[in-house]
């Protein structure tokens, strides 16, 4: 089983605050890896380090290496925009762009210079199909994305990310703003997607991790405490800390 992303001695500071400490994480290809841990432990920062979105935060400093298929993404000759086409991201709060549904999904392609109507039409349909949204929106592609329900908006954001054709999809607590029905729809969607993609999902919902993740990594106070196949972590964690977290001794 190949490792898609490997971090080596990853350290991140926000100003003087040492947010991620010496994180060494291996993300397997074609699987769903969940990152769990209490609030504020650095899960989102870790996720954002994987597509260099962490650089947008004022005062952020990154040290160490993050290897995507063996190449360090923080290398000076790696274009962040190019990187983000390979490593897509879905955010905690759905953030549709202020455009129509169609334009949202087509955005990533247009930005790469693809303007051919036929190509875009096909890509948009395919992406919406994969995200399980096509049948619900095919009659109203020109409508504003804000007219969708919040669950639909999140699936739109997934479709939009998929349209770009990434190898990896990063999801930051994608269901935390959603109701249980939308949540389960998205969970099923993610399970379908792992055939073609590597998925990394940050979640504070342990049941969710158990449900869908193949591997789980436990992060605590900026350190990677333990990572293992999900069942192993939940049945038989190696670290006391992990066991305490899983059993709900702290949150």
């Amino acid at each position: 089983m190949r490792i898609k992303i490997q971090t080596n001695s990853l350290n991140v500071w926000y100003g003087d605050s040492h947010v991620l400490q010496d994180v060494k994480l291996a993300i397997p290809e074609g699987r769903i890896t969940a990152i769990i841990g209490p609030s504020g432990c650095g899960k989102t920062t870790l996720l954002k380090s994987l597509n260099r979105m962490v650089e947008l935060i004022e005062g952020a400093r990154v040290e160490g290496r993050v290897l995507l298929d063996g190449r360090d993404i923080y290398d000076s000759d790696m274009d962040p925009a190019e990187l983000r086409r390979r490593v897509g991201m879905v955010f905690q709060k759905p953030n549709p762009l202020p455009m129509s549904i169609y334009d949202n999904v087509a955005y990533g392609l247009r930005v790469r210079g693809i303007d051919d109507r036929a190509i875009l039409d096909e890509a948009v349909e395919e992406a919406l199909e994969r995200a399980g949204l096509w049948s619900e929106v095919k009659e109203r592609l020109r409508d504003s994305a804000f007219n969708l329900s919040i669950g639909q908006q999140q699936r739109l954001c997934i479709a939009r990310a998929l349209a770009v054709g990434p190898d990896v999809l990063l999801l930051d607590e994608p269901c935390s703003s959603l109701d249980p029905i939308s949540t389960s729809r998205i969970e099923r969607l993610l399970t379908r997607l792992k055939n073609d993609l590597t998925l990394v999902i940050v979640t504070h919902n342990l049941q969710q991790a158990r449900r869908i993740a193949d591997y789980t990594a436990f992060l605590y106070m900026g350190r990677l405490v333990e990572m293992a196949p999900t069942e192993e972590i939940f049945q038989n964690p190696r670290e006391e800390l992990t066991r305490n977290y899983i059993e709900g001794r702290f949150g």
Binding site: A81, R84, F91, N95, L97, Y107, V111, F146, V164
Partner: protein, 299 residues
Amino acid sequence: MSSPSFFQRLLKMREGGEALTLASALTSILIFASILIFTIHEGSWMLLRPQYLLGARWQPEYNRYGLLLLLYGSIIVTAGALAISTPIGVASAIFISEVAPRWIREVMEAAVETLAAIPSIIYGFIAYFFLAPWIAAVFHLPLGRTALTASLILSIMTLPTIISISSEAISSVPMAYREASLALGADRWQTLWRVVLPAARLGIFASILLAFGRAIGETIAVLMASGCVAAIPNPPWNLLSPVYPMTAAIAIGMGEAEFRGLHYYALYTLALILLCISALVNNTARLLIRKAPRGEVRI
């Protein structure tokens, strides 16, 4: 303790406080209403006798008060000013909010605020003594006080309005939109042009409207820069001719006009037009600013 008498209750500070402040608040309504009433009342006198207002000449000594001539003067000068200051202003706003590092941004903001605070008489002075002779020299004119001169000085005066309100509009575009765009592989500038600026367009347009209002209401600077000759330039779009904006006519005319004489009423009609334009422009701009997206996602 016996219950307080009527007078004691009336004088109770709490009631007093509310009444006092309410009265103060009402004075604002009073003042605005007065300005409205006066302008409409005095301004409509001549509207009811339009024979004076029509025609292509403004010659108070012959009782000819061709309003359109003056309106044209105001519009051409304002349009010229905006044609120059809009691209420069919006570009500067983009620079301040998206391009410049922090310290440069603060320097620019201080510069813009200072520009805004300079009294219009000083702008007029610069136009009269420097800009006008320069224009006269460059274009071989006898006198340099023209529509172009007025447009140029007005463009500097309207820059701060466009810059500050547009950069506010651009900064207010929700971070979520920018993040979404960047995460999809767009770079900073693609994000700016495809997402941020379209989202900020209402605010930017409002800034242009407000600049329009500022320019068309400006008196002293255009008085000293535009030449104040009541004639339509030949050809009409010739900016190198003097013009006579409405505000200048009011300022100059009121000094000589007989109270409630024909000239006086004609000037008040100009004032009414000016007030209507100004109110329209300002209220529309405020409406637009209110409708601009501000960080929430409609669900």
